[in-house]
């Protein structure tokens, strides 16, 4: 079996597992919806005020939704021994880790990006900013998934890694928050958004190159312990 086939096999496997337990797919979306609904209640329903805060609200909720699901990335595979088999495989662990993240991104980031126009309208975000929001979400959430994967790989061996993963990973999420938010704000103000998206793209390239390496090492340490 060559590396590409194996990559696709893992992606298909993860997606199939998710489809068999649909609540796992629905959870981030429901969480997203719940938190988005909280803000008008907490900040007051003045449309102008909501529109000002909308880009920031969006990105913070995406960050949290991603963090919430990152912990489960390798958890079940660790518990049932699948991870051991993956480590013993002749296939490069770099690609296997990347495949697991790809599946995670499809199930969280891409889904959130697809439904984001609805939530954007709920928060009274300018409709002209929606394409930028979706683009930034697609790029940014991929970076978030990759970073979350590093945290998950390092903490999967611990009984309660949930809190630790937040402490490890949240600081690394900050650049995505800053530039993702910047892109949407620029779009609302009619300014060029390409630089922001380019920086998000650059972060994604860097994360694709480095994060799977860190994940591979983290998984080896976690299984060893």
């Amino acid at each position: 079996m060559n590396a590409t086939t194996f990559f696709m096999l893992i992606v298909r496997r993860q997606l199939l597992l998710a489809v068999r337990r649909p609540i796992e797919i629905a959870n981030p979306l429901l969480f997203f919806l719940m938190v988005i609904v909280l803000f008008p209640l907490g900040l007051g329903p003045a449309p102008a005020q909501l529109a000002t805060f909308a880009p920031g609200i969006f990105w913070i909720v995406v960050l949290l939704a991603n963090l919430l699901t990152a912990d489960t990335l390798f958890r079940s595979d660790f518990d049932d021994g699948s991870l051991e088999q993956l480590l013993l495989s002749r296939q490069p662990l770099y690609l296997s880790a990347l495949a697991a993240i790809t599946a995670h991104w499809l199930l969280t980031g891409v889904l959130l990006a697809l439904v984001s126009p609805v939530f954007a309208l709920m928060l009274n975000l300018a409709p002209s900013a929606i394409p930028t929001l979706m683009g930034a979400l697609l790029l940014g959430s991929a970076v978030l998934s990759l970073l979350g994967g590093v945290g998950a790989a390092l903490t999967v061996g611990l009984k309660r890694g949930g809190m630790l993963i937040s402490l490890l990973i949240l600081p690394l999420y900050l650049p995505v928050l800053i530039f993702g938010h910047g892109a949407v704000v620029a779009s609302v103000g009619g300014l060029p958004v390409a630089p922001y998206l380019a920086i998000l793209g650059a972060m994604l390239c860097l994360a694709i190159a480095l994060a799977p390496l860190a994940m591979a090492l983290g998984l080896r340490i976690s299984v060893d312990a």
Binding site: M1, R12, R20, E84, Q85, S89, R90
Partner: protein, 208 residues
């Protein structure tokens, strides 16, 4: 064939492991040539599983000595790596060891060999514990790895199943493979060499 002409599959020199302040084993030297069937024995807590994990390369730190594995290996651990949400067929077709990619016919044949004919399309969470172990054991019929590391392969398997399993292992040995396994049951096959971990800190070897 003498030992000298048979290819070495795995070589471990001067292995030592201490856990929780207790020396489980030390200066353990083990060689598995093609055609060797090694049975690791020992009471609970003597380090059989730890040794097997070291040999498999899953534990890389915290032990003394060195392991060189020259062959592709198949490892069956304590956890079966069977996904409850997938069917036996899917579990094998999408196995993460990456060593299996066989056509559907071969997978069905393997499932029939472990007595799971008729269960291949049910999700594994509707199977019994023994049947889930059998899904994992079906890999023994699909893998082409010459070296097998089996941790308690007989757990939860009925008498007939154990017999068929031993027959499959004997076949693998006859084909020039090697097996290192742990089990609390006696392995009633000729040519099985035993390594005991009961006397810690004494030297053992699998002479063959």
């Amino acid at each position: 064939m003498t030992a000298a002409t048979r290819p070495v599959l795995l070589e471990a020199r001067d292995l030592g492991l201490a856990r929780g302040g207790r020396q489980l084993f030390e200066s353990l030297t083990l060689t598995c040539n093609s055609g060797d069937w090694i049975h690791l024995q020992g009471a609970n807590g003597t380090g059989k599983t730890s040794l097997l994990r070291i040999l498999a390369g899953l534990s890389r730190l915290g032990f003394e000595g060195e392991v060189s594995c020259m062959a592709e290996l198949l490892y069956l651990g304590h956890h079966s790596a069977v996904k409850p949400l997938l069917t036996p067929r899917e579990n094998l077709a999408m196995h993460l060891s990456g060593a299996i990619q066989r056509d559907a016919a071969a997978i069905d044949h393997a499932l029939a060999a472990v007595d799971l004919y008729g269960y291949e399309n049910r999700p594994c969470n509707s199977l019994s514990a023994g049947q889930q172990r059998r899904v994992n054991l079906a890999r023994l019929y699909l893998s082409e790895a010459p070296l097998w590391l089996l941790d308690e392969p007989y757990t939860a398997i009925d008498v007939g199943g154990v017999q068929r399993l031993e027959a499959r292992m004997a076949e693998h040995i006859a084909d020039g493979g090697g097996i290192i396994m742990t089990s609390h049951q006696r392995v009633s096959q000729p040519g099985v060499s035993t390594v005991s971990l009961d006397e810690a800190a004494s030297q053992h070897g699998a002479e063959s």
